[in-house]
Chain length 151, copies 2
Amino acid sequence: MFTPRPIGFVSSPYKISREIPKGFGVKHEAEGSLEILPEFELGLTDIEGFSHLIVLWEFDRSGNFELIGTPPTDDRPHGVFATRSPRRPNPIGLTVVEFQRRDGPTLYVRGVDMLDRTPILDIKPYLSNVPAEKLRRGWMTEAESRKSQMS
Amino acid sequence: MFTPRPIGFVSSPYKISREIPKGFGVKHEAEGSLEILPEFELGLTDIEGFSHLIVLWEFDRSGNFELIGTPPTDDRPHGVFATRSPRRPNPIGLTVVEFQRRDGPTLYVRGVDMLDRTPILDIKPYLSNVPAEKLRRGWMTEAESRKSQMS
């Protein structure tokens, strides 16, 4: 397969994992930036018109993968491919950020949930939504409902 | 960085790139399956409840990357990070598929736009949409409007 290389690094207010808000109803509104390396800056041409970007990045500080784990949003274990766990066979994270403005190789964004200095693998324009009436969120909906009954 | 490994392979009706529908208004409704390798099957636990999945995969038959290129949806060039071009510094593709049913290590899905035998890197649950009133699609909206004026 290909050999991953960073196209840049995230600048984030979060220095350690514990600082990142987790769990249900968490709003990721932290501001940060995507600092693209000079040799890839040309690839940002025309990115200004998109309101949201998909950022793919490396979980560079997570441990070995676990096929089953208990996420912060539930007290029951689930398969890694049914969660956003950092401990994945290929440690690739995905975050949809709101794009605010560009200054040369720097993209200022809102909604970062990555650690500071996280390596960025790719940026793609966010183009379309899944029809809301067709979206089902599996165990997450059940877990939310169990938690709200407890509180 | 990490060393990518396939967690499985796509089974798709498309054998060569030319067969994949491209351009504006294209609906990806092709049916296919995600064939997960036996050693990762446990990671699919509880995936059944999600209506849509994000599939990350390798563009394993694309050439070297190009920072600027002309996509099939336009006659003007754009930066690679403002497009879904296969010729990316890290050749990672992303497809949102509609999940139909699971049979052991096989996930039957609708909406494949990958070539047959494409290596799969990761599967994540699709959890939320960007608010529709906030979504802007940059040069794609302009290109659509130019094309519709020409026809």
